[in-house]
Assembly symmetry: C2
Homo-oligomer: 361 residues x 2
């Protein structure tokens, strides 16, 4: 249990609210997921969209990660500048400006991109041309989640052939984020594509699966070569809800102060939608779990106010009390701040920049 | 109608997505609200939490605003450093660290703060002591919205007396954000406090009302001295929904690119919850209004994906198309970016830093 004296000391030094990560917990999370990937025989390619920090990416790499995943070109540029090599951008890169930047990045860094349509693929060769080496491209497939990705093996096969036939591109394999309950369908999808492309002499060097919730399903897809998990680095209420984390695995906590207690059953925190975000966490009750007052509900936000329903609380916090919140969705909370306060237990280590935050494109 | 060539040129220069403000529309919004305040005989004290830019605050001041409102001490510090004087922080400032910062700010800037409880007030005198002049404090009152503020005139009177009796503090009046449908109750609240305090020799120098939606109600509260509106500077879908803005009054647009069209009735934008935010806009349908495709619904987000339901669209956007989005809630979108792209019609002016973003405390 974190002491009141420590919380007060941290807030005196860094202000309230503060977004705090415990590096001991971060390291334990890194080790656990790396061990699970090793045991399943798939490479670990963590998604850095959660933490956006080259320092933390380097911790993941040094623990055995094969490379990293980024969701934006700007994230990849920051990671490469921070010394991270072997970057997969799991996103359609479109537009002359971005393709030119991608070419510049590819000159000095092994970078692979995803595509799910012919327009994206038609634009990518320029990047390989600029770099003077082929750009590896994986085809993004959707096996039921209805997000990015082609919906049928036939479309995936056609795009793979388009990539293979393009100058300055190299077909690298498939990328997907399989729904937790559709592994047989996902297997059939991959197998059909693999068989058809084999006849063309095209190999699936990469078969990339994703998601921290899917950590429970590592090994379900025969032929998967790597897995992209992101949220596990810090965890959050969603990961607790899906059984992928306990409270002890939650490395990130928002330290906040109670600033108002206008009525016996109401309170207000200095953390609103500009800190915790309005992310509903896929249907969770309220907007965060308050460690000191688990029965309190953060039921509504203003931009700098988190409105507390204290009706179910036996002990109610007073004005000036500091509490710690596990957010619904940690990836979007990290995106709100320029730096984390890093601690180990009750020792303050310093600040870690969220270096890739603010890179909109 | 913005031309495709202009949109493409802007994206080539600044990347996609881009958060774009039209300064012609900003100036028109400033002029309209200033004129409405002038006509109602109340001072205009715009809330800068929406734009977080000292440059834009200076435009508001130069058009006649009395001063500005901030929601955080960090915002006030950035505004003061940017040359803005007469700042109201409509927030309980708590904690030794913040009170010391407040004292430093008060040395060189006229700053007034709000308080709604005795704990906050007990901590504030140190700020006046540090500054060497009294800190003006207004009592925050809640006349039905159930946010910050005391719920009864009796509590407001008691806090006013506490302020007046505190060394280094000066009682300055009342602050509230009246519900749109409770003006008689708000009037009764203010009148009761005014009468009781008059007997103590205490005056309500400031009676501050708030909210862009309440622009329609200027003049409803007899004795109001000033109004704090924020969102009007840019406007958004919420302001259109409540009748305070038309599409032509929306100065901020998110330029985004269609990056995937995985099925005939589905599409994906490169703007997800890390750009547009998951703010539901008080119950609006979807997460933004797409100017080029009003029938398209942004029905769901991933962090960097906005999922489009195109079922109702006659003309559907293709991969690579650039569209412009009016967000649900502009104040939280501004908080996601480090700079705006400023335009006047189809002329690009440059970038304006969101200087107070990232000041968590």
């Amino acid at each position: 249990m974190t002491s009141s004296a420590f919380k007060a000391s941290l807030i005196r030094q860094f202000g309230s609210p503060a977004v705090v990560i415990d590096l001991d917990v971060v390291e334990a999370n890194i080790a656990r997921v790396q061990a699970a990937c090793d045991a399943a025989g798939v490479a670990n390619r963590p998604h850095i969209k959660t933490h956006k920090s080259p320092l933390i990416a380097a911790m993941q790499r040094d623990a055995g990660a094969r490379g990293i995943t980024c969701q934006k070109l700007g994230e990849a540029e920051v990671m490469a500048a921070g010394g991270i090599d072997d970057i997969l951008i799991s996103y359609n890169i479109l537009g002359e400006d971005k393709v030119a930047r991608l070419g510049g990045l590819l000159r000095g860094t092994l970078v692979t991109v995803a595509a799910d349509n012919p327009v994206t693929i038609a634009g990518l060769p320029k990047a390989g041309e600029i770099a003077g080496r082929p750009l590896p491209v994986v085809v993004e497939c959707d096996t039921g989640r209805k997000r990015a990705g082609v919906e049928t093996p036939g479309e995936a096969i056609a795009l793979a052939r388009q990539i293979a036939a393009s100058p300055h591109l190299a077909f690298a394999g498939l990328l997907m984020y399989p729904p937790e309950d559709r592994w047989p369908q996902t297997q059939a999808f991959v197998d059909e594509v693999r068989a058809a492309l084999r006849a063309d002499g095209l190999e699936l060097k990469i078969v990339s699966t994703g998601g921290t919730p899917n950590m429970a399903n590592l090994g379900q897809l025969k032929g998967a070569t790597e897995h992209r998990a992101g949220t596990y680095i810090f965890n959050d209420r969603m990961m607790m809800a899906c059984g992928q984390a306990t409270l002890a695995d939650c490395a990130l906590q928002v330290y906040a102060t109670v600033v108002s207690r206008a009525a016996p059953e109401r309170g207000i925190l200095d953390s609103g939608s500009k800190t915790l975000t309005a992310d509903p966490g896929g249907g969770l009750d309220g907007y965060g779990y308050i460690i000191e007052h688990p029965q309190a509900r953060i039921h509504k936000f203003a931009e700098e106010h988190g409105f507390l329903d204290l009706a179910a609380c036996n002990e109610r916090p007073g004005v000036g009390d500091i509490v710690r919140i596990i957010p619904n969705h940690v990836c979007v909370v990290c995106n709100m701040v320029d730096r984390y306060v890093a601690v180990r237990g009750e020792t303050i280590i310093g600040e870690i920049p969220v270096a890739a935050r603010g890179r909109l494109s």
